[in-house]
Symmetry: D2
Subunit: 266 residues, 4 copies
């Protein structure tokens, strides 16, 4: 039997993809959308939405009251998201949150509501399942290979370097890696910056070029061998694999889980 | 306190590296070698061995009787290996077997002896820890990505294609991957072989070129993303990371374990 | 001073990108389009086209007669293309043809018309300049490295394997490579197809996975070293670099040139 | 007919490989060696040399006087090299110099002697032909792709970053690349060094890990595409392809050429 799904934020960049994904997956069924600015004209610009003929609600309360759903997916903005999720969980609708930017106290509050209502919730700001696996594998490999460097590559419109994913990967690696000063002690940068950014002795290199989208390679080195774990994302669609995975897994949860990595292998 | 180690087969290709590794690791101590053809002249050709001034025995019984050791490493041939390991385990010396080619019944017998004597034994024919991790990660990733292809690259003197590691990787992937017919149903090979070897719907491609050593990449594809896990081995030294890992872990084992993958994360 | 450009086929997949590119390049100026089915309603669906307010002609004769242009770009179908190009060149408008499928005799005829009218024409069915360079570099490298294999990777909706680009690359490599039987003479495929497709002793491997777009790597191997040339195309936009390059170079041509590779380094 | 070759420095790291290569190539014939410290005992340690039974001279004059040769290969140290090459060229023996560290004035002097004696000489400090091609292709590609970054990877015992090859590649790229400020103007390094070393707006990233040898990738980015040129060297043997190429080409030279790149495609 299909899982009935409500999506909030169906016209956003992530929401558009989510609508597409849910309507294409045979075991998922889109039953309603929540759209704060439910302008009929705007909807018409979104072919999938206008073709679907599913009810679109401006008021979340009304939506959850009117339509029977198994899972609620929020892809909006932090403030709206917190409200939506609170209502959904209180109505025992399991919730998947892809919106990023919730505060720690909001997350704690949702966790409490989730527990109280015995209704699962998954918060996963980075939904690309390949990226989640890359990070988990890196954490596991670092236990055996203390020498590691990261190369992340993005399009040349990206402002920050290193990327958030690279920083998070370093944090995960630190949890298992034996402290080590990598490289030769007398190593010298003939041109400053050649050896990249350093975080806890781990080097991170950020490449920015047109023609790239979002790529990261974590390279572990040992005597006579290297082990590399690489994720290439060329399309926002990649995030949908994680959304789908979360929807299918939240069904069996009775509490809040932060991060897809914590439900892997479930 | 250092772990005292005996090595059988110190003049072989793997044995030479193992002698080198054990003598260089601060927490390991080489205390004796077993060499069936203990020709003093031959030993002189091996600088490390001749410099070490450690006893070399032709008779394993005599060796294990004379020298106190924590771990015995066998890198010989199947027949000798089985004898050595039996004696070692019966004397409660924990054993690491890198020799390949033991029969299933020999392995079962060693397993029984190991249990009976409450003395750990690790059998791991492919000791490169990076390769072991690559295979484990592939097995884990296949759960989320049913679309996968393998490219393995070796020097052009290799006779068999695909490599044993590629075949083993496919076997591991099959354990977790949902059955799937990959590629387009109407896909056509304009030149036969273009789409590689097929095993259970998984494609394997074997590249053979001078300048390569031993490399394998497992590529998982999903909507908008790919995840790649790659192991490059350029030197037999790479196997020593696995030997070292096995030695350090066999200490805490009281039974036989087949495959390094089963003691990962221990 | 800007180069004035007419585009035929502005609503096609390539045409849409070409309109976008020409209107964004400061040294190019879109002055008209030729569209056989110039339905005003259809045009409205193409935001760039409808915003531009440039004349759109159904009749190529009328277009070339009415509008003053330096370069004509054809991105239509073979039959229309041949007509368009003939008229354009006879009117001394230099012509860039991205349409594939012209017959040899059509190409010869256009070549004659081009010479007669002292008006340059470039035919280049694969416009991605990176792909053109990859093929040229491969041809050059093969002179020094007779051992070479090709790995091409595409999305899993592609029907043919190997790709047309791979086949063309092999053809170019053959022109410079010393004949050589690669691999070990006793090499054996344990699973058929492992060693890929063979063309003149060169192995080609075709990977098909979701998450890929269009990628090719040419790997040359020699004693102790490999040289790899890789092209990754993730967007049809990549073809526009070649169109732009052709437009800028056709200006100085007085005859027909087939293939961008023949005007490289000009 | 085979080319007769004299090698100076046969016991050095490069020399050992050169002796091996020359004796294995059917069209080359090793006829003598020059070894300043021609200690018979030392020679015995080099199996190939002691087996060959070719004359070894301490005095270069005597060597060139006694033995008839077509090509002289010098793999020694700058001072000795300059002397050897001067004598060889004056005796009309074509000369290949792999020794690095000759001063500019020494090179100019050899160039004059070479011209005067109408005897070719090739000086090529980096003999790996794959590396030479990588640099040439990069120079050619930069004409079409002003956006470029370099990732070079070496073993973790290397002291300097970036590598000499990376610096030389940047110099070559500068000769053809249109000046461009790459990356987003507001790009920000959250951790210093993330964006690598900068030379003329080109970013260079240096990775240092055990398990690596000598690798470089030059990545060009354009709209929707990237072009990558990669050289992997895992063994000193790789340099011999360049030595062989130089020997075969110096035969036809009557003057001095600096850098293998200048005789490519000859």
């Amino acid at each position: 039997m299909a899982i009935n799904v409500i999506i909030a934020g169906p016209r956003g960049r992530m929401g558009t993809e989510a609508v597409e994904m849910v309507t294409n997956e045979p075991n998922l069924q889109l039953v309603a959308c929540i759209d704060r600015k439910n302008d009929k004209e705007k909807m018409r610009e979104y072919p999938t939405l206008s073709r679907l003929k599913i009810p679109v609600f401006e008021d979340p309360e009304e939506c959850f009251h009117t339509v029977q759903a198994d899972v609620f997916i929020d892809l909006t903005v932090p403030e709206a998201c917190f409200d939506h999720a609170t209502i959904a969980i209180q109505r025992h609708i399991r919730t998947v949150i892809g919106t990023s930017g919730l505060t720690n106290s909001q997350i704690e509050e949702l966790s409490a509501i989730s527990k109280e209502n015995q209704t699962g919730c998954i918060i996963a700001p980075n939904f690309a399942i390949g990226a989640v696996l890359m990070m988990q594998f890196s954490k596991m490999a670092a236990r055996y290979f203390p020498d590691v460097e990261i190369i992340e590559k993005h399009h040349d419109q990206k402002l920050d370097a290193p990327s958030g994913t690279a920083v998070k990967t370093v944090d995960l690696i630190k949890q298992t890696r034996l402290p080590k000063t990598q490289g030769h002690p007398n190593e010298e940068e003939i041109i400053p910056g050649a050896r990249g950014a350093v975080d806890d002795g781990i080097r991170v290199h950020s490449v920015r070029l047109p023609g790239l989208v979002a790529h990261q390679e974590v390279i572990f080195g040992g005597s006579g061998q290297t082990l590399s774990i690489k994720h290439d994302s060329i399309d926002r669609k990649s995030f949908m694999s994680g959304v789908k995975f979360a929807v299918e897994n939240v069904i069996d949860l009775n509490e809040l889980v932060y991060g897809l990595e914590n439900i892997l292998d479930k």
